[in-house]
């Protein structure tokens, strides 16, 4: 969007990332912890797209501008794919732990073996 400085988008991304970090640290429900990780990944996605759009301001040639625009979007695609795989496996692990222990408090999961 024209008229919005780069710092505004980066500030939002930073705020979301920080919120995600705090959530991972203080929450005890593993599903909410996963949501906070998603929050952090999305903050990073926003930052990638913002830089892809804004760093063109320093480029002179058309090829560099195109590469800048595409590289950020490609990273976002890969982050989304990794996030999808991570959520599928992570929720599977939570289901397996719940089946084993009937309790999913993350502070009480301090051994790797069941």
């Amino acid at each position: 969007m024209n008229g919005v400085p780069l710092a505004a988008y980066i500030g939002l991304g930073m705020f979301m990332f920080t919120t995600g970090v705090v959530g991972v640290v203080i929450r005890r429900n593993p599903i909410v912890v996963f949501m906070c990780i998603e929050l952090m990944l999305n903050a990073v996605n926003l930052t990638f797209l913002t830089f892809a759009r804004y760093q063109m301001a320093t480029y002179k040639s058309q090829v560099h501008m195109e590469q800048s625009l595409m590289a950020g979007q490609m990273m976002v695609i890969f982050v989304m794919a990794v996030a999808a795989a991570e959520v599928a496996v992570g929720l599977g692990i939570i289901m397996a732990i719940y089946r084993l222990r009937d309790n999913v408090d993350i502070d009480e999961m301090n051994v790797l073996r069941g």
């Binding site: 969007m1 024209n2 008229g3 919005v4 400085p5 710092a7 505004a8 988008y9 980066i10 930073m14 705020f15 979301m16 920080t18 919120t19 995600g20 705090v22 640290v25 203080i26 929450r27 005890r28 429900n29 599903i31 909410v32 996963f34 949501m35 906070c36 998603e38 929050l39 999305n42 996605n45 797209l49 892809a52 759009r53 804004y54 301001a57 058309q62 501008m65 195109e66 625009l69 595409m70 490609m74 695609i77 989304m80 794919a81 990794v82 996030a83 999808a84 795989a85 991570e86 959520v87 599928a88 496996v89 929720l91 599977g92 939570i94 289901m95 397996a96 309790n103 999913v104 408090d105």
Partner: protein, 175 residues
């Protein structure tokens, strides 16, 4: 940020970004997991809108389809399957960890912000020429994905395959 002029775009951005930040706080602050999940859905929708404002139309659509459509449905599914919506399973206790975490977050935000934001405050977006504006569309994304980024693409496909097999292995009672 003395040199920033208030434009209609800035006001619109402020509204959307404020709502997104509020939803992000809601994800952490709500005790009920379902409320957290719904806050996250709203946050992802607002982020998709911001992607549109960054000329990344295809990414905005993918955000809605993949995140709010697939990943959040998976979250809600597991919450309801485990019946974690109520408060009886995981009670959030007030203890030193909570205050330490909030303090850590504030410190992180202040350190990052004071180092990064001042140098970026004056940078404005350049007006996109029409032939550059089409680089957010599906055609350009697909062309780049299958030419310059084909090896990462293949790696991601293997990763997703491993993820599928792994989650089936984890979630199944007996093979």
């Amino acid at each position: 940020m003395g040199g920033v002029t208030v434009t209609p775009e800035l006001l619109l951005f402020g509204g959307v970004a404020g709502a997104a930040a509020l939803c992000a706080v809601g994800v952490v602050a709500f005790n009920n997991a379902i409320r957290s999940a719904l806050c996250l859905v709203v946050n992802f929708f607002l982020l998709a809108f911001l992607y549109f404002t960054l000329n990344a139309e295809m990414m905005g659509i993918t955000q809605v389809v993949v995140y709010t459509g697939a990943i959040m449905v998976l979250f809600l599914f597991v919450i309801m399957l485990l019946n974690l919506g109520g408060l009886k399973l995981v009670t959030e206790k007030f203890d030193y960890k909570r205050y330490a975490g909030i303090l850590l977050g504030c410190g992180l935000f202040v350190v990052l912000g004071s180092q990064i934001l001042p140098s970026l405050a004056t940078i404005q977006a350049r007006q996109l020429s029409p032939d550059l504006a089409k680089f957010g569309g599906p055609e350009a994304i697909g062309r780049t994905l299958f030419t310059s980024y084909v090896y990462p693409f293949e790696a991601v496909s293997v990763l997703l395959l491993v993820g599928i097999v792994g989650s089936i292995l984890l979630a199944k009672r007996r093979l």
